[in-house]
Amino acid sequence: MRAPLVFAIVAAFVAGIGTAQAQISVKLGVMSDMSSLYADIGGPGSVEAAKMAVEDFDPAKNGMKVEVVSADHLNKPDVGSNIVRQWIDVDHVDAIIDVPNSGVALATSQVVKEKNKVFLISGAASSDLTGKACTPNNVHWTYDTWALAHGTGGAIVKQGGKTWYFITADYAFGQALEADTGAVVKAAGGQVLGSVRVPLNTPDFSSFLLQAQASKAQVIGLANAGGDTINSIKQAAEFGIVKGGQRLAGLLVFITDVHALGLDTAQGLTITEGFYWDLNDKTRTFAQRMAKRNNGKYPSMVVAGVYSATLHYLEAVKKTGSAEDGAKVVAAMKETSYDDPLFGPTKVRVDGTAEHDMYLVEVKKPSESKGPYDYYKILATIPAAEAFRPLAEEKGVCPLVN
């Protein structure tokens, strides 16, 4: 009498466990600068983008349960790596997303590798993340310093800017961007006359601009980002740098920076972008959805990158059947190529770089713009194969490439 009952109970238990296993649960942690100089580039916009990607993926339909958490790393690598440790060890987060500020991203990359989770990089720029610091757990989605250096730097060198002086943000990102651009300049027969290393988040650039002016270089390269770039471009106008015949090269300028500067000040800048909202119907729809959710702000390429990377990560988790083994999920991401709604044809390379077209754009004159966020003229499309560092150059640098 009793045996069948016990059997029934056990069977019910097993069935219960079975359904629990069938549902894959994934936790995503978006870590960004939520409150300081980079907050408008990613920040709350990146969190919204990750949530939107989850909604569009539709976890319920795919038998998955996905949760998004977020945190502010305050641009401090130690704060960032503590958050990541806690997220992974205590809260069971499976993927860390975005992380603008290469210093924090490099620290995060180490922790993620050690714990074998996944790092979907969109905001950070340093090409080291897929170079000498590459790991089997990193996917670098949106852009990197090599792409910027060759896009913007290459275009300006071609137009005759042979001597350069750099104003560089004094941490991993600025140094990488300066080094990558310097290499482009030298390869084209140009010359780097000098550079000045400026602490992150400096309000006043006049002193550094004066040094750059005194160098008599044809081009002043701004190897900084966000609020730092805004302040340096604005103050360069004040000190008559461009009027004096020197050219200003904003090596990393986001659409949010252009918006903050206003076209009067920003017009004519040559910029390398991985994404522009006004490319086609898909990008326009995405931008309008984002703007609705994010206080009217149109997405930067970083926000777009968070969306796409999150979407394809979730697909890879579904394919792998579990988010536990980070390296395995990343390997699955590398197997397929995507026709991404925002970035077009995209392939994640063995070193972790997501290869897609980049765009060389020029900021419109105020008279050419139809309204807020109508800021860019596309000068050229840089094909995916030329936009990023050739894998051949990474032999012996990134251990994954052989």
Partner: protein, 295 residues
């Protein structure tokens, strides 16, 4: 020509001048703090936020009402000063008899709230504010290219700083104020309305911050974080100058601006920290600050 430590002299003069320009912001802001601390005994951590609101006020006037820079220079300090008076009447006045710490916590909290509200509304990269047409352009000084606007900032802040010093240290009104700080009961006995005087002093200090905000708007972005970036440095200036010493904060403001400017030439990596190194050294040698009296 001769070189000084490898830097050509004209570059050096340029950097000294830039240092003075930055110093004039430090001086203006630390002046307001010194007045408030000296006369009210409140460590006003909301000063940076009020400076930011002053700049935003200028931006509002321009974009919403079409009123330009000169109007902003007049209206913004009055409006923000009135806001300061409301803060003093509704919150700060309950704290005068308590430890400094309470005032510090209240104003710090206020600063975070104000900053958060603006950031929520405007984001972190800020709004553009152009230099007024009458002050655009630049002088070519031979050794450097001095934007007219920056020259104006230095002059205006020198006048304001020494005007304030004169008002408080050399006039009858100033002597009432100082007396009211030493012994409010006695001054009240002479028929002077001490609470009202204190309220107006706070309003004045706040108006100075707003004025600095308007002057900063065309140079920096009008951004919610502009105050937070500056306030820590300004507090270091006040501490080095001696808490509550008006002349001390003016001289240290300009002096530290120059020292910071020179650091930007000789060792730019340290330009964010040099002021704090100086602060640590001064505190070790003269804990009351360079111009302060031990209380």
């Amino acid at each position: 020509m001769f070189d000084l430590l490898g830097i050509p002299p004209q570059a050096l003069f340029g950097q000294l001048l830039i240092g003075l320009i930055n110093g004039s912001f430090y001086a203006l802001l630390s002046l307001g703090l010194a007045v408030i601390f000296g006369l009210l005994n409140i460590i006003n951590f909301a000063h940076g936020a009020l400076y930011m609101i002053g700049a935003f006020c200028a931006w509002f006037l321009l974009t919403k009402l079409g009123l330009g820079y000169w109007w902003a220079l007049l209206i913004s300090p009055i409006a923000v000063g009135a806001f300061g008076i409301a803060i003093e009447r509704s919150m700060l006045r309950w704290l005068y008899r308590l430890d400094h710490l309470y005032g510090l916590l209240l104003t710090f909290g206020l600063a975070l709230v104000l900053q958060g509200l603006f950031q929520n509304e405007f984001g972190s990269s800020g709004q553009p504010y152009q230099i007024p047409p009458s002050l655009t352009g630049a002088f070519n000084l031979g050794f450097m290219f001095l934007p007219v606007y920056r020259g104006w900032v230095v002059l205006a802040s020198l006048v304001l700083c020494f005007g304030t010093w004169f008002l408080i240290e050399r006039t009858k009104l100033g002597s009432y104020l100082r007396a009211a700080t030493e012994n409010p009961a006695l001054v009240q006995a002479f028929g002077i309305n001490v609470p009202r005087m204190i309220t107006l002093t706070y309003g004045f200090g706040v108006a100075l911050a707003a004025l600095a905000g308007v002057m900063a708007a065309p140079i920096y972005q009008v951004s919610p974080l502009m105050g937070a970036d500056l306030i820590i440095v300004v507090f270091a200036v006040v501490v080095i100058g001696g808490m509550g010493s008006i002349m001390g904060s003016i001289l240290t403001g300009f002096g530290l601006g120059v020292i910071e400017g020179l650091t930007k030439v000789f060792y730019p990596e340290a330009s964010n920290t040099v002021i704090f190194i100086i602060m640590a050294i001064v505190l070790m040698i003269k804990p009351a600050g360079l111009f302060g009296r031990a209380r």
